[in-house]
């Protein structure tokens, strides 16, 4: 009876550890359990192809001239962050040797051991480009649409096509109506044309085993009486986020529109900036500055930074709050740029 038990005790952790994916450099490519894999490049390529797939139907529709104008005036930005953690732990390993003798007395030796190994990779990059570049990708470069992967979403279809389509439709109904004159209102108020979306995916997989071997002590001899492992655990956690932002160049419409929008922008600029702070508050000022930029490229970059900062603040709220408190406690002459 002892030997089958021993075999099971040895095999169980081995199977548990081998089932989980082990990689020295955790990447989206080396997903465990043979889930469909996608390299970083494949993920980016897939996102761009989906964006193109979202553009194509509208570019072939009856408002195609209008859509082309929007596309030409729009910048798109992506902020990718892949955080992958792999852990292989052997917890609470214990080996007990016992010797019984007569008259009653005992000698007991306990040996313990524990090993924790983890590998984490955090990959982060941003790409900002013209939507026209996405629209002009060759069809041959994009294979058939991938299917959604619910276990490991980043490697499957992310429905970015819907995001792009929604942005274009909103642009069409909000501030563009083909050749009709746009009334931006007496206050010069117009939509800033920034549209962003944050996608978060988290997958955690874990397997473990807890083997124990117990034997009786023998009088007069040292003998292993207990060998146990509190847990052989292997886990992988994937925390992926993708921020997509769109912004359109504010000056691509007709002259009348440009004149009014330009006036509104100049007015907004006067609300912020050193010396003439009508509006106070870092976030409000940043929002106004973002709306006042003349370049879609800069708008997208600011929007990506803003969304990423919000995500970071959510994840580390205590640090953010503490920083704000410390900043508030400092005398005004000690605060530097950005404070």
């Amino acid at each position: 009876m002892v030997y089958p038990l021993r075999i099971r005790s040895c095999i169980a952790p081995a199977v548990a550890l081998s089932m989980a994916g082990c990689s020295m450099h955790p990447l989206p490519d080396n997903a465990p359990f043979n889930f469909p894999r996608a390299s970083t490049f494949d993920v980016v390529h897939q996102v761009r192809c989906e964006a193109k797939a979202g553009l194509d139907p509208l570019r072939r529709g009856r408002n195609r001239a209008h859509v082309e104008k929007i596309i030409a005036a729009t910048s798109i930005g992506y902020d990718f962050r892949f955080v992958m953690t792999e852990q292989n732990d052997l917890n609470d390993g214990a080996l007990t040797l016992k010797r019984l003798s007569s008259p009653p007395s005992k000698v007991e030796i306990n040996v313990t051991g524990e090993a924790t190994r983890s590998r984490q990779n955090e990959r982060n990059f941003r790409i900002v480009e013209g939507l026209a570049d996405v629209a002009n990708m060759k069809d041959a470069d994009c294979s058939d649409a991938a299917r959604a992967n619910l276990a490991y979403p980043i490697s499957g279809r992310l429905r970015v096509d819907e995001v792009v389509r929604t942005y274009l439709r909103l642009e069409r109904i909000s501030d563009l109506d083909d050749d009709e004159t746009i009334d931006v209102g007496a206050d010069g108020n117009s939509r800033a044309g920034v549209f962003s979306e944050t996608l978060l995916f988290k997958t955690h997989l874990s397997v473990g085993a807890r083997p124990t071997l117990t034997l009786n002590a023998v009088v007069g001899r040292y003998r292993v009486t207990r060998a146990a492992l509190g847990g052989a655990v292997a886990s992988r956690t994937d925390d992926h986020s993708l921020i997509i932002a769109f912004a359109q160049a504010p000056n691509f419409k007709d002259d009348e529109f440009n004149r009014k929008v330009g006036r509104a922008r100049d007015q907004r600029r006067s609300f912020v900036g050193r010396g003439n702070k009508v509006v106070r508050g870092a976030r409000t000022e940043s929002a106004i500055a973002q709306a006042s930029t003349e370049f879609a490229h800069n708008q997208v970059a600011l929007e990506l930074a803003r969304r990423r900062n919000l995500l970071d603040d959510e994840q580390d709220g205590a640090r953010f709050l503490g920083e704000q408190l410390l900043r508030g406690l400092r005398p005004p002459d000690e605060t530097g740029p950005g404070d």
Binding site: M24, H25, D29, S39, F41, V44, A72, P104, V107, E108, I109, N110, V111, T112, G113, E114, A115, T116, R117, R119, Q120, N121, R123, F125, I127, E129, G130, A132, D133, N136, A249, N251, F252, D255, G273, R274, R283, E285, S286, I288, A289, S292, E294, F295, H297, N298, A301, L302, L304, A305, D312, D316, G317, A318, R319, G322, E323, L325, G338, D339
Partner: protein
Amino acid sequence: MIGYYFDFDIDETNGAGGASPADPLVQLTRPDKFTNLSLTASANAARSNKRTFTIIEPLTDLAKDANREICQDRVKGANWTYPVAGKIGLDEVVRTYLKLELLTELQVSNKAPGGFPTHVVFSDELVFLTKFDAGASAEIVLDAVVGRLRVTNASVGVGASREDRHSVTVALTRSTVDVDEDLPVRTAAPKARSRSAALTEGAREERDRLIQDGSVRDPRSQSRLIQMNAKARDSIAIELHRRRAPKDEHSEAARALGQRFLDILKVP
């Protein structure tokens, strides 16, 4: 340009004493139960080392003959126990960065006059944690002898642990193309520019202005704008600092203060 930030944090501890901190080393007992002497002793030692350094160099340097010769003797396999000593897969990082650059470089607007650079800053942060704990304890239990003070229990425990926390941050970017962004619809741009003096500034100058006049006050957004305007080497330095800053020790005070404040705000 490629930059690396290495952070090696190593702790070692050794301890000796009773089988557990509460246990005596030696216990002497007489059977009358009124005489009991426990002797305790313990020794603990800890050593810690933190090593950090940064390297920023042109990517082309890695392809030079001198570097190739150095790399001939490199470790080729992965080291699962002590990962940083083996192959950690940075070849994939460089390959992916170059592929992404190619993906965004081969585009229509970049080829056209006035096309804008895509500002790809690619960074990877690898953290390896290896911790080993080992310990042994021995205990002897003997019967007391009538009329004599005798050792009835002797136990000893020794333990040692080592924790290695190694992190490598790698960032890659390239020199931005020395042309400025233009308005995407180039037919409308010249007219628009002529109407307002403010429109004459390029995207680069606009980013400078947003920082200089304090329009963008959030430090992280500011650093992002500065990074977009910076040269490749500076951009790498900013990226490495950005990745490192939240984990720095000086952030701990803010984190502790904020956590305390949040605790106070919680409903009892």
